[in-house]
Symmetry: C2
């Protein structure tokens, strides 16, 4: 196995592959990147219990003298490539388990793992793709993934539910205290599906999509999904189980509707949160929102040890409905507000002990819902 390649080209691919390396694994071979050298391209593969990533590298700078396969320690390889400043690097297998990497006046001899030990990764067949706009996928992840559960108490809630029927993709995330729902119309048709992708997989996918603006092809089977981004394959396992029916907890009638300038509301909520006491269950700061008869909104917190905070926020246009007082975890509202691209948002209230809903004037297909907490 002997080849040379541009250092920048290889490093860019390694940064993607790195997303698939496990942080900790009982299977040390997975700390390796599988590097397969064919006649005129390289395949790089990484995998862990959740995801597997494969990149094909066929850059013009690639010059292959001899084919072969190795399992090379991932983190070391990436660190070396980061620190190298030369334009070209050469890889040569000099012993059964020893590769030499040469770059200008630098020479690294890296001990290899046994490539035969590297587990076979079954990437799904590239049949029946659903074509997605990469910007849309990034937006969905940004708008929903933060609302998934962190705790493993109900594992199914640690993922985002993607449901497809009638040409529409319905995406839902909830940790049972708040919920995010996004609906999008797709360009291509597909069979009906209903899957739950782990939040960590979506985080890694999001980082890979950062440098990618073309279309994404999606392939689905009952246990996993594969996303093809040009020369990158990204496959993740799915969460098992039935995702709860969340439609029934979204109120249909909202007697009180209050429009806000998003940034004004956000900074008022952030300031009030500085002094607010923490909720025992979620460890988040509890704040109060009250609509006064003069149609000014008061956001406040009371903390017997530290002190009180009070903000007056003037709604950005007309309010409907009677006065109201509601309490909730400020972090839920902060995170929801931050996920909107709209500068104007509308808070819709069904009652003082019922979930309330946030919508954006420029985000018609996005809905956030927050459960209030009871206060005296």
């Amino acid at each position: 196995m002997i080849f040379t390649v541009d250092r920048d080209v290889l490093l860019n691919q390694l940064i993607i592959i790195q997303r698939g390396l496990p942080a900790k694994t009982p299977l040390p071979i997975l700390y390796a990147i599988k590097l397969e050298v064919f006649e005129d391209y390289l395949l790089l593969t990484s995998s862990n219990t959740d995801i597997a990533i494969q990149v094909m590298l066929d850059d013009p700078s690639l010059s292959i003298k001899q084919t072969g396969s190795i399992a090379i320690p991932g983190r070391y390889l990436i660190e070396i490539m980061r620190k190298i400043t030369s334009q070209k690097v050469e890889f040569a297998l000099i012993e059964d388990r020893l590769v030499v990497i040469k770059a200008d006046r630098s020479e690294f001899k890296l001990r290899l793992m046994d490539v035969e030990d590297y587990p076979e990764v079954d990437f799904l067949d590239l049949e029946d793709s659903i074509v997605l706009d990469s910007q849309m996928v990034k937006t969905i992840i940004k708008e929903t993934n933060f609302a998934t559960a962190v705790s493993e108490k109900r594992p199914i809630l640690t993922g985002v539910n993607f449901k497809y029927h009638d040409n529409h993709l319905y995406c839902v995330a909830t940790d049972s205290y708040r919920l995010s729902q996004k609906n999008v119309k797709l360009r291509t048709h597909s069979k009906v599906f209903d899957i739950v992708i782990p939040n960590k997989s979506l985080e890694e996918l999001n980082k890979i999509l950062d440098g990618f603006s073309e279309d994404v092809e999606l392939y689905i089977n009952p246990n996993k999904v594969l996303l093809k981004m040009n020369k990158i394959l990204f496959q993740t396992r799915l969460l098992e189980g039935t995702y709860p029916d969340t439609m029934r907890i979204i109120p249909q009638e909202f007697p009180v509707t209050i429009p806000f300038n998003k940034e004004e509301l956000l900074s008022a909520v952030e300031r009030v949160s500085l002094l607010s006491p923490r909720d025992r269950e979620t460890n988040y700061n509890i704040i109060k929102l009250a609509l006064r008869p003069d149609h000014v909104v008061e956001i406040s917190s009371t903390n017997s040890e530290v002190g009180d905070a009070l903000e007056e926020v003037i709604p950005s246009s007309d309010i409907t409905g009677p006065v109201l007082k509601i309490a909730f975890s400020s972090r839920y509202l902060v995170e929801a507000l931050k996920s909107f691209s709209s500068s104007e948002v509308i808070l819709q209230f069904a009652g003082e002990v019922k979930p309330f809903v946030i919508k954006g004037s420029q985000d018609p297909d996005l809905l956030h819902l927050i459960l209030p907490v009871r206060i005296d």
Copy 2:
């Protein structure tokens, strides 16, 4: 106690005062900032076991309606000021232990501590100052403080030794494995002194100096030093004990002298360190440096588990002396090199088991010394 002031002006002073708040203290009153309101200025004070800071605020934006003194929770006050966006803020004491902070449509009521409990801070008298250039003080801290000991095994080594005689300031830091020495000529005369300032105090001082370019006045007594930076007083305790005589460990004869381009040497050392094994005592990576008969310098590391690294570095000009092989902790060399402003450095060797010295072509008053480790 009632006053108004520009939010930006107050925040800038609070950011300085914050450096004196303790991270953790058995004396909760020290979590407070002492705020004294006089006829036409404010005094802000913070202190912990090592340092005390006092700032005088007499900005034109300050408007004082009523004088008084309070002890206000430091972190809360600073967080609130950071999050406020209005131009002006008003402080008013409304109860014995309750202050109201108003800013536009925000209102914070903060519970106070008893200002009578705040310990008296004895700042040194402003007599017999030594005038220092603030840039010079920053440079000395940058060039020496990193070489102090982290461990408390020999407490005296956790500070930088400043010795003054004959118009010169001699600054030394060592953790007993490496040493940094800087000599500067002072503009003003002073009595002879020999003090050790704790490294943490120098770190905080360095952060405060970041936004300061005028002269610094230095006042010294046997237990503490006070630095006056315009309207800021920064006082720190000194370390007790006698600083070791380090002159005798610096070799006087260097049979081998090798000049390097600093960046080239630094990046070669950093790359080789990626694979190098760790020293048991210091937990730092051990690398080897060898001068070959052809006057190329080899920097290398050997790691039976991971692999080997080898860099060839061409000295930047003529070498004196015979071939040589020496091993040491790469981090010491990396940190020493980074502290030089020179682009050319000279490594001077007294022998394979003797300390070696690093000097910079543009840093005539700076010397770094590193102890080698024995290898087979």
